[in-house]
């Protein structure tokens, strides 16, 4: 703060003012006023200040920070804007004694200015008017400026000084003829069973002012502190409403509710003497917060229930606050707190057990937090907190319970960083679901870890598969690939998977052989299947080698025949094919020969084999080579209905007319029998 010139001792008075959203200090030193901000100190002179001031005794800023009042040693009061740019009015009270307090009294209704000055036993309200109003105080008092008036406290009393609201004034003014006043009167007469009630009512109705009357009574009730008076006004309003067709009931209902809440909190046990306007300004939510802060949980809950606030905003929220308070009671055991909380909260919708648990954790009560989290149904909330509390294993089982795999992954990665590898793997071992998820993760992200996982579990079967995959994906050179396969084969032996081990060894043999073939013959052999290797050999005329390979790897005869047949037909080496067909009796019959020749559009060759086809497939073979007539003969000979219709379906009208007739006749004969 900058230096203030001439400031030797404490200033006679000072206050904070707010200008352009910056706070300044206004400070009086003798007859001078200074405005201070963080950098500068400037002298200011209030405009229109009466001369002769030698010091300022009090200064007051209004509730809204817009106005400023200065009390001088001459008993003169200057009132102006807080910016010190404009004078609003002045007042001379002729009392030179320094006042104990000076505060602004807000007048929300008239927007007029009023300052309350207090001395030991005297209170004076001053403003525009040439005269002030004086009150005598019985005790030492303290003034508190508020939104809509000034609160006056003394050792034994508590009073509120405020401008009378319009509605109250209208009704209670002496000899008031306002509609509200008449309605109140009418209702009183009505209770006395006097006909005057009707007269009053008529008077209001003739002027068509009944709605205003009701409204005035409702409003006035709001500003009354005394329940009997509230009731009497509300009764009047209710009475007036009876004579109105369409008076919206909400304002009346809401006022009744508001008053009930206000009366409850004004009770001396609670001691929150809010005025109606203050309550409205504050909102019910803030009021509830204040009650919660004062730990008045039961009242807060009653209010919520009475006002039927949605549970999430109301009861649940308060219960949650209660629970958060409860967890701070260190003298109660974890068990008891957790049980008490659960008993009260149960499954109340909208209560977040994890929030409460977080609070408990914040107070250093981890065990309690864990107990509370047990009640949290949302794993998405539960798990991260458990992680934060370093209960990762518990978090893992909770995550697994939820079925949310993303959550499981999150915990897993957390665990992985937290634990050493051995412990991490052990944890996984007891959680099969987590383990399989982690395997998937490793498959895509950390192949080596995957291997370690299989190793740890002695899962030799999967290890074998792992090495096979490696031999295709990771290894380039043939030696490396064979070595990988060897590891795989060993693993398969350990897994007692004889078949896979043998197959793997065969593959190693084949790989080596294929490389040799590539070296000797050129061309591509590597990674062909055994079947394709043999085929390729035949296609490149290496029949001997093909035979050898087939023998070495024990290709079954039937498949070898198919293989050769297909390869030779592809080569269109018909001579070799014929030789092959005669090498011994075909294990696959001769129909495939017919078929394959026809596929290559060689009817001539096909016919050679058709004759050798066994009786069961003869018809089919003959039809394939287009010999419908002979097919018909065979079918008739077989007396097979199915074959006959097959042939018939191949008969084309013009050429095979005779054949068709022949079959029809044979059929007819067969049927006769």
């Amino acid at each position: 703060m900058p230096e203030v010139p001439g400031l030797q001792s404490a200033p006679s008075c000072w206050t904070t003012v707010c200008q352009d959203r910056v706070a300044h200090i206004l400070l009086a030193v003798g007859p001078d006023l200074y405005l201070l901000d963080h950098a500068a100190c400037s002298a200011v002179i209030p405009p229109g200040l009466a001369p002769g001031v030698s010091s300022f005794l009090q200064m007051a800023v209004s509730f809204t920070y817009r106005h400023l009042a200065l009390f001088t040693d001459t008993g003169y009061i200057w009132m102006g804007t807080a910016s010190l740019k404009e004078k609003l009015c002045e007042f001379n009270c002729n009392i030179r004694a320094p006042p104990k307090q000076m505060v602004w009294c807000s007048r929300p209704r008239s927007k007029e200015r009023a300052v309350v000055v207090g001395w030991e036993r005297r209170l004076m309200v001053v403003g525009d008017a040439p005269e002030g109003i004086q009150f005598v105080l019985d005790e030492d008092s303290y003034l508190v400026p508020e939104l809509d008036g000034v609160r006056i406290f003394s050792r034994s009393t508590h009073e509120f000084l405020h401008e009378v609201p319009v509605a109250s004034e209208e009704i209670f003014k002496i000899a008031s003829m306002a509609p509200g006043a008449l309605l109140l009167e009418a209702q009183k007469e009505y209770e006395k069973e006097s006909q005057k009630a009707d007269e009053y009512l008529r008077e209001i109705q003739e002027l068509g002012q009944l709605p205003q009357a009701v409204q005035q009574c409702i409003e006035a009730a709001g500003h009354e502190h005394w329940p009997d008076m509230q009731k009497s006004l509300l009764r009047a309003a209710s009475f007036g409403k009876c004579f109105l067709d369409r008076f919206p009931p909400d304002s009346f209902v809401r006022m009744c509710q508001d008053l009930r809440v206000l009366n409850a909190i004004r009770d001396y046990h609670i001691g929150i003497p809010l005025t109606y306007s203050q309550y409205k300004q504050l909102t019910i939510q803030v009021l509830l917060d204040r009650l919660v802060l004062r730990r008045l949980y039961p009242l807060a809950i009653q209010i919520c229930e009475y006002l039927r606030l949605p549970e999430v905003q109301g009861v649940s929220r308060i219960l949650a606050h209660w629970a958060c308070y409860k967890v701070q009671q260190k003298d109660v055991s974890d068990e008891d707190v957790a049980r008490a909380i659960n008993q009260k909260l149960g499954d109340t919708p909208g209560v977040s057990y994890s929030d409460i648990a977080a609070r408990a954790y914040g107070c250093g009560r981890t065990e309690l937090a864990i107990k509370l989290l047990e009640y949290e149904p949302r794993s998405g909330e539960q798990v991260p907190l458990l992680l934060k509390m370093k209960r990762s294993k518990l978090a893992l089982s909770k995550a697994i319970e939820s079925g949310d795999t993303d959550l499981v992954f999150t915990v897993l990665l957390h665990l992985k960083n937290e634990l050493n590898r051995g412990d991490f793997f052990m944890t996984l071992r007891n959680q099969p679901m987590a383990l399989s998820l982690y395997r998937q993760f490793c498959k895509h992200q950390e192949l080596e870890t995957l291997k370690d996982l299989y190793n740890q579990d002695d899962n030799h079967q999967e290890l074998g598969s792992f090495h096979i995959r490696a031999s295709y994906a990771a290894e380039e050179r043939i030696e490396g690939r064979v070595a990988a396969l060897q590891t795989a084969a060993d693993a398969f032996y350990k897994a007692k998977n004889e078949f896979a081990a043998k197959a793997t060894e065969d593959q190693m043999r084949l790989l080596r052989l294929q490389r040799r073939l590539e070296d000797e013959l050129g061309g591509r052999f590597l990674d062909l299947s055994l079947h394709d290797t043999v085929t390729t050999l035949i296609l490149s005329g290496q029949n001997k080698r093909a035979e050898q390979l087939a023998r070495d790897f024990r290709i079954p005869d039937k498949r070898l025949w198919w293989l050769k047949l297909t390869a030779l037909a592809d080569l269109e080496d018909w001579e070799e094919l014929e030789k092959f067909s005669k090498s011994k009796k075909s294990p696959i019959g001769y129909l495939p020969f017919v078929e394959i020749c026809m596929k290559q559009h060689n009817k001539y060759e096909a016919k050679k084999y058709a004759s050798r086809v066994g009786p069961e497939q003869k018809v089919k073979a003959l039809l394939l080579v287009g010999d419908v007539a002979q097919a018909a003969d065979v079918a008739i000979e077989h007396r097979s209905e199915a074959e006959m219709s097959l042939v018939l379906s191949h008969c084309t009208g013009a050429t095979d007319g005779a054949t068709a007739d022949k079959i029809q006749r044979a059929r007819a004969q067969a049927q006769k029998k």
Partner: protein, 578 residues
């Protein structure tokens, strides 16, 4: 509005509108022009709920496919990544974002996770130093996508593999979430039945999630009466057999993806005179298949052998309708004729398409090999010679038929024999390795892990008991006017659908023995309803059952379920698959 979604007993447009609204709300959060960068896998599923026009209305100006390095240039304010929560995709996104940051004007980045936000992925983005670049990071819970009036799908191709091979439950969690969304829109489903390990888990998750949601009490009158959760591995047989319904065959031969099929274009060339087949279209013909198309709705679930007669009947009706014009004499009559013209032309176009498709399929189904394969399948399913090496399979291997065909047959045989004798199994395996290559040892191993292929243990073949008790094989099948669900496989009644059928009548108690043989637990859970929401059943009103297949469903099974619901007269079943 997608009208075909509102035909069923349950109006699925409610769901579709709900997911569309959610999408619009997200797009509007990112004010200004936008570009969407798509995880390619998601474009198909998204296409079913929002066309480009919807995106355009919300200022989406550009669309890209998510790829490494940098994004194509786009003059937009926002860049939205729509991705599945996968680590490898996070790496690509961060690459995109970093290179974009180097390029001039600052953009707003957003990320939309489908179907769920993932802590794991966000951690990865954080590690890569780009997490802070995203203004909105949200999730779009697109779990169940409405496909048809009675069909929802999760479009999760890998679900079977993840669940049964990798023991990864992620898709089960999504399934449970999807069912919760469904219940939020259509009311709590009072009864849950299930069979299988995964079914049990999904039911557990649902019950758990319900507890999490207490507070938002569901006050919707329940639309579904029952939910049946079925593990795919309870019935591995059905998907191995060749489907013989029209839709099933289209899928078998051409594959249906996100309700679309791509067909060879030659058959669909516009027939114009003098256009000597010069410019035949080379791009595959893409058709959407759903019940919005009247003709397709009629034939999709029929046995293929019954489709021809319907098509020719339709052809006659349509040409007769066109002939009507000669009878139209007065202006009024002509006007009426003209007003019907668009509808008739659409019908004619639809008929032409399906006639072409049917011809394409017929070429396959009339081939000798198709017939042989079917014969073998049917022998296995009816329990003939399942315990020895099958010579047709041998021949297929020897001739190097497509591996998938061979594997399907071998697995089918294994399933129909409660596993193969070790000797038989080893023989097949050896043959396959020698012919198709040693690397398939991994393929075979995976098949064994999922139980599709296995050695017979315990020595007893339980399939005949299952077959007889559940009447899986029906000798007298009427393909034209079916009386039993077995028409969809011309003799074999899908096990899964039989379970659903027996559940509704007379109840599973009658088949306890078989249920014990089938893998996994069977169970029943009740979800209590507030008294106000309990249904008072009108006489003659049928129950609505939601059947959820965990791990995929075949079109033939869907057809069989539709057939059942017609049989029960309106008791429409609704089935879902993933």
């Amino acid at each position: 509005m997608a009208t075909h979604l509102s035909y069923g007993r349950v109006n699925l447009n409610v769901l579709r509108e709900a997911v569309r609204r959610e999408l619009r709300e997200f797009l509007d959060k990112c004010a200004g022009s936008k570009a969407i960068v798509w995880d390619e896998y998601l474009t198909g599923p998204f296409g079913l709920i929002a066309q480009y026009s919807l995106l355009k209305e919300h200022e989406v100006e550009k669309m890209f496919t998510l790829k490494g390095s940098r994004l194509p240039a786009a003059d937009v304010k926002n860049i939205i990544f729509v991705v599945r929560p996968r680590l490898e995709l996070m790496d690509i996104i961060s690459e995109n974002v970093l290179s974009e940051d180097r390029r001039g004007p600052a953009r707003d980045f957003h990320i939309l996770f489908v179907p769920r936000r993932s802590l794991l992925c966000e951690q990865r983005l954080k590690d890569l130093g780009v997490l802070g670049s995203f203004i909105h990071r949200e999730e779009y819970s697109l779990d169940l996508i409405p496909f048809d009036g009675d069909l929802l799908s999760m479009e999760s191709e890998g679900a079977f593999k993840e669940c049964y091979l990798e023991s990864d439950q992620t898709s089960l969690y999504h399934a449970a979430k999807g069912l919760m969304t469904l219940q939020a829109l259509y009311g709590t489903i009072p009864q849950i039945f299930g069979k299988g390990e995964c079914a049990r888990q999904v039911a557990n998750m649902m019950i758990r999630m319900k507890r999490e949601f207490t507070g938002s009490q569901n006050s919707i009158f329940p639309v579904f009466d029952n939910l049946l959760l079925l593990d795919r591995n309870v019935d591995l047989l059905t998907p191995l057999a060749t489907q013989l319904t029209y839709e099933g065959l289209i899928d078998e031969i051409y594959g249906i993806q996100n309700s679309y099929v791509k067909l060879p274009p030659e058959k669909f060339a516009p027939k114009k005179q003098g256009d000597g087949g010069k410019d035949l279209p080379t791009e595959a013909k893409k058709l959407q298949l759903n019940s919005a198309e009247e003709l397709y709705a009629e034939i999709r679930d029929k046995n293929f052998n019954a489709v021809g007669s319907v098509l020719s009947k339709k052809a006659k009706v349509i040409s007769a309708a066109f002939e009507e014009r000669h009878n139209a004499k007065t202006v009024g009559e002509i006007k009426q004729f003209v007003s019907q013209l668009p509808h008739m032309q659409a019908a004619r176009g639809s008929l032409a398409n399906h006639t072409s498709i049917a011809e394409l399929i017929k070429d396959v189904t009339t081939s000798e090999d198709f017939f042989d394969k079917l014969t073998v399948e049917q022998e296995f399913m009816s329990g003939i010679d399942t315990d020895k090496v099958n010579s047709y399979i041998e021949d297929c291997i020897a001739q190097k038929h497509p591996l998938i065909k061979v594997l399907r047959l071998v697995c089918l045989q294994s399933v129909c024999n409660s596993g193969l004798k070790q000797k038989v199994l080893d023989y097949y395996k050896r043959e396959i390795l020698q012919t198709y290559g040693y690397e398939h040892i991994l393929t075979l191993h995976n098949l064994e892990k999922t139980g599709l292929l296995k050695p017979q243990t315990g020595g007893r073949n339980t399939y005949p008991t299952i077959r007889k008790t559940l009447r899986l094989w029906m000798d007298d099948v009427n393909e034209q006017n079916p009386t039993d669900i077995s028409y969809v496989y011309s003799g074999y009644a899908p096990l899964s659908v039989r379970l659903a059928q027996l559940l509704s009548r007379p109840g599973w108690r009658s088949i306890e023995e078989v249920l014990r043989i089938l893998p996994g637990p069977h169970f029943e859970e009740r979800q209590p309803l507030p008294t106000g929401l309990q249904k008072k059943r009108q006489p003659g009103e049928n129950r609505v059952t939601l059947i959820f297949f965990l791990g995929g469903v075949t079109f033939a099974e869907i057809a069989a379920l539709r057939f059942l619901s017609q049989l029960e007269d309106g008791g429409r079943s609704k089935e879902t698959y993933r």
